[in-house]
Amino acid sequence: MLELLINPYIQTILKVIFLIFLVVLPSAALLTLMERKWSALIQDRRGPGRANIGKFTFLGIFHILADGMKLALKEDFYPAGTNRFLFTIAPYFGFFSAVTLFALLPITSPLGNFTFQIVDVNIGILMILAYMSFSIYGAVLAGWSTDNKYGMLGAVRASAQMISYEVFLGVSLLGLLVVYNSLRISDIVAGQNEYWFNGLIPKWGILTQPIGFLIFFTAILAEMKRAPFDAPEGESEIVAGFFIEYSGMRFALFFLAEYISLVGMAMLISTLFLGSYHFPWLLDAGFKLGSLPLVELPQWLVVFLRFITFGGKVLFCCWLIISIRWSLPRFKFDQIMKLGWNRLMPLGILNLIITILVTLLF
């Protein structure tokens, strides 16, 4: 039995199951409720909280169950004129690209030989960008196959916006690659636990690449089609955009994929720019601030503290993205394109040039 667990293939399969069923799906399901709760907080409301089992409401957590049941019980409906095959497969593209992201990101530091990361490939960041580009197909095929003018407009907007912002996403990461000198995720993570000024200030991505972080964050918001970049699904102009004709479980797939990719992107931002699972001054052996003596900690405690740190960072990023959605009005589509090509692109290239000059000179 124990021999079976040491087998790397079995380990990988176990990691995938653990990650999907205990991290990804529960956090995405909880976020659907958290978004409504946080938006209520911003708008000075109380938010959903009536769904109950007997007397217990548990802050409205049963709304997740109620919503799921409602969607599952709806009629499986194809509107007239749809291309059935494409209509059926379209939601899975977004789902695929949202879930594959988790295979490449570590959730805490390795415990002995066991890594808390499914694969650590030599070209980690390129792989992440490659998988992210799949979500375009979901939006485009969904909008085209419904044979609806609003859907089509949403698909055209989505594809133009996402192709453009993928470019800025790549450009903003170039500076980061120069600083940490690797494409491998574990190298970037390890590089963020080094310190300036004799162990005082950690070399987190947000401190080494502040401009890169701003561009990356903006591009991530646009990639996820979240407000203020939600022109592809702007409800006051084109009703719901590319998924206008979807209902029931197929709509639920879109909905769930959106929240899974929200968790994934929050993990990506934390991994690349907020120091990943590293807590400041928490080294592998224990706490060490500057030239003060080392406070030793056992390895399992360090790993556990890092897991908590990572979870906190991811939660903070989710909160930030959601509160941005509920605070800012939507951009017009031409403003989105202008912001991208006229502001972010030159800024990103300037950032890269400055980064290269600084790395070469110091």
């Binding site: 494409l86 030599n122 390129l126 485009v140 095929l141 085209w144």
Partner: protein, 178 residues
């Protein structure tokens, strides 16, 4: 042993998917299906590259062909009216050209498959051992930016000229109309 068996059968699965997708791409009546199966071919090719431990090329295949070029193809197909726009095009004269081209390609490919005798020695630095030791992207960068830097720069100038040309062509019509 188990691993090699698994990966060999993986190759056959990927290869047959690629062949089926290629036939669909040629034969499908709906251009959208052709575009999507072309995307599937690129995806499977990327998987085969990764199976061959050439992760870098696999990722590039996904990023450039699947993520960018095929999206533009599908974008174009989406903007055409597939029910009417394709009936008017007369494809008859293209059959001959396509036939000649495929015979030319086959005359290169078939001898290569027939004469294939096991694995060939790898020339240069890009060996499996070096990929494990140094890393695929590092080796590729070394080859690209140290040995063939002049060609890379010339290519980038060529691309820049292409971009400027496209801008000039679109801008000319635009000002005439105004």
């Amino acid at each position: 042993m188990e691993a090699s068996l698994l990966s060999n059968s993986l190759f056959w699965v990927l290869g047959s998917v690629a062949i089926i997708a290629a036939s669909v791409a040629v034969l499908a009546p709906n251009p959208m299906y052709s575009g999507l199966s072309l995307m599937l071919i690129f995806f499977v090719l990327a998987a085969i590259y990764i199976w061959m431990k050439q992760e870098y090329f696999g990722a590039m295949q996904l990023l450039i062909y699947v993520g960018a070029i095929m999206v533009l193809f599908i974008f174009m197909i989406m903007l055409l009216n597939t029910r009417t726009d394709f009936e008017e095009i007369n494809l008859n004269w293209r059959w001959g050209t396509a036939f000649l081209l495929s015979i030319g390609l086959m005359s290169v490919l078939i001898p290569a498959v027939v004469n294939f005798k096991g694995s060939l020695p790898v020339l240069g630095n890009y060996t499996e051992n070096n990929i494990e030791l140094i890393g695929a992207s590092e080796l590729f960068a070394e080859a690209l930016w140290e040995k063939s830097i002049l060609i890379v720069e010339l290519m980038s100038i060529l691309l820049l000229v292409g971009v400027l040309g496209a801008v000039v062509l679109t801008k000319k019509n635009y000002t005439d109309q105004i």
